[in-house]
Amino acid sequence: MAFDIAALPWLPAAPANYRQLCRDLDPANRGLGHELRRLATHKLDSAQALRFANALKRLRGASADLQGLSGFKLGLVSNATAEFIVDAIPAAAARHGVAAEIVLAPFDLVMQSILDPSSEVMHAMPDGLLLALDHRWFGAHKPALDPGSDGFGMLKLEALDAAVTQVNVSALIWQTIPVPPATLFGSLDRQMAGSVRVQIERLNQRIVEYAARPGNYLLDVAAFAEQGGTAKWIDAAAWNLYKLPFALELTPLYADALGRLLGAIRGSSRKCLVLDLDNTLWGGVIGDDGIDGILLGEGSPAGEAFVSVQRAALELKSRGILLAVSSKNYDETARGVFRDHPDMLLREADIAVFQANWNDKPSNLEAIAATLGIGLDALVFLDDNGAERAQVRAALPMVAVPELPADASWYATYLSAAGYFEAVSFSEEDRGRAASYAANAQRSAILLKSRDLGDYLTSLEMVIRFERFNALSRARIAQLINKSNQFNLTTRRYTEQEVAAVESDPSAYTLQVRLADRLGDFGMIGVVIARAVSRQGEVWWDIDTWLMSCRVLGREVERAMLDHIAADAHATNVTGLLGTYRPTTKNGMVAEHFDRLGFKRTAEGEDGSVHYMLALNDHIASRLPHREAA
């Protein structure tokens, strides 16, 4: 088979001593998060996945430092034997940046577990609840052809919805239901009210509606079953023997699908696709074959294959994924293809960072991440050369590097199937992001011409806009809260539902900040949440969250934000502001943020966190290069 999705062919094979490697993980070590991610990023059989799960459990039990992975406690209810899913999730989730802990409800105790606050699952207070239910739970495994008799599954779904809306979890994950391959009438099933297919399609439609609400997420299991083949997915013997919900060989695919969703909820999806050039974007070697000799364009099978890779990259760019190039070539030779080859779909302007040189690939990837101001764990590296892939994996385990088959026709399929860019929302800001990064290059050019920084900032004609949180911006606010790592003082993550709660909390002060200049609109670039606290009869605002997009560093935006917060605080008779810096591996750039803004250090915690205060009487507003939007 050319492409067997169930085998997760984009993952490299697991090393023979996998079990030993899992055992050797020492909770006293640092950097375990990256090591776990490296171990998880292999093709794993059920025993290996179980070894990984046990190793993670052991490390968590020993309170090991799992920096680099976000925690997620997942409750799971199912009408089937879900233990194999539970075994497979930790590795699949770690592959997507999440340290998952799973609490499984007893077999087939679905409503009971949800409705009873003292049930094992609800008592554990999970971050998310996965409703792993299939057609059998809804009674949709048998036709209901008598008029009026096909409503049972829908009633059950509505009852389930009523139950879960009472539950306090920040992420509720719904699954669509795969349609089994067996038919009663044949093609007529699709037209026949009450057929298994029609019942399930109606249920799925409703499930999709439920999952569109804030705090609800969709795991499109039906789509993954289609991709794997429903004839393979629905395994009658596995159900009868072990009550497995689907064929065991599809467990890795299911778990990876869930892992990428958990990653997306936690904001750890990838942000940038880095492309090799020779034999990845075109056939042949530009340095040897010349611009007339490379294979690219409609008319030849090989040429079309490379066009499809470029098209896939452009589609990703259109949804806000950044593109970069890392190639062993002379810069002029490589750029020449982008400028002059008539069949290139990708042009220089599509590429946010262009690294064509003779350095090794890991160094180039580090340069790309640094230039874009994103983490290495936001990168995906596409390269036809197995040796380069292995070198990058060894040096930079946090970069995603898919295996590729010999035929370039499949590159785009592999890239898409690996699920690196999983999203739980799509905003106007995503649409504009690539353009915004491209404009940054022009801004750098202006900087070179300006005499000093003040001149430069003034010449940008920046307009800043402050607003409190509102429903319209909620999705983007939640996205920033979950994605921002570097300019983030406390790195506290909140779901969209929690953001909504802050909006209406009278004791909370919120601020969303947008910035535009004469070269483009950055969209929302700053978020603040503060809470009123009482100290010796005076009210202070304690800054719970302060984060900014790294695209607007060096523009005095943080000073403008402080002035605005201080003015609002003053207007409501607040005495002053309290701040906290909580260090992570990524937010070193803001270690002195509050010091720079004139706050005084008041205390230091054992975890390295630093507490600050600023009395409003001591604050003097700055002269700033921005104009405030009306």
Partner: protein
């Protein structure tokens, strides 16, 4: 493959599933005499044996197993 070779492979699978290298099986071993081989582990082991030997058990085969020897003979009959 001889009974002994099949038994050795089954032992390797069981050790792997129970994460216990001390497990030692004979043709006469019964599941409940092995630490950790409970009903869930049994499902894991049966599924892993299917995976490892590239075979599929029939629904009717599974219920009649009394000891490891029965399992070894079932594997050989299924190949």
């Amino acid at each position: 493959m001889t009974d002994q070779e099949t038994l050795n492979r089954v032992t390797a699978v069981v050790r792997d599933q129970l994460d216990d290298d001390e497990v030692s099986l004979t043709m006469d071993t019964v599941a409940k005499a092995v630490d950790g081989w409970d009903s869930l582990a049994h499902v894991r082991i049966m599924v892993a044996i299917e995976e490892s030997f590239g075979i599929e058990f029939r629904t009717s085969d599974i219920s009649g197993l009394d000891n490891v020897g029965d399992l070894v003979r079932l594997i050989e009959a299924s190949r």
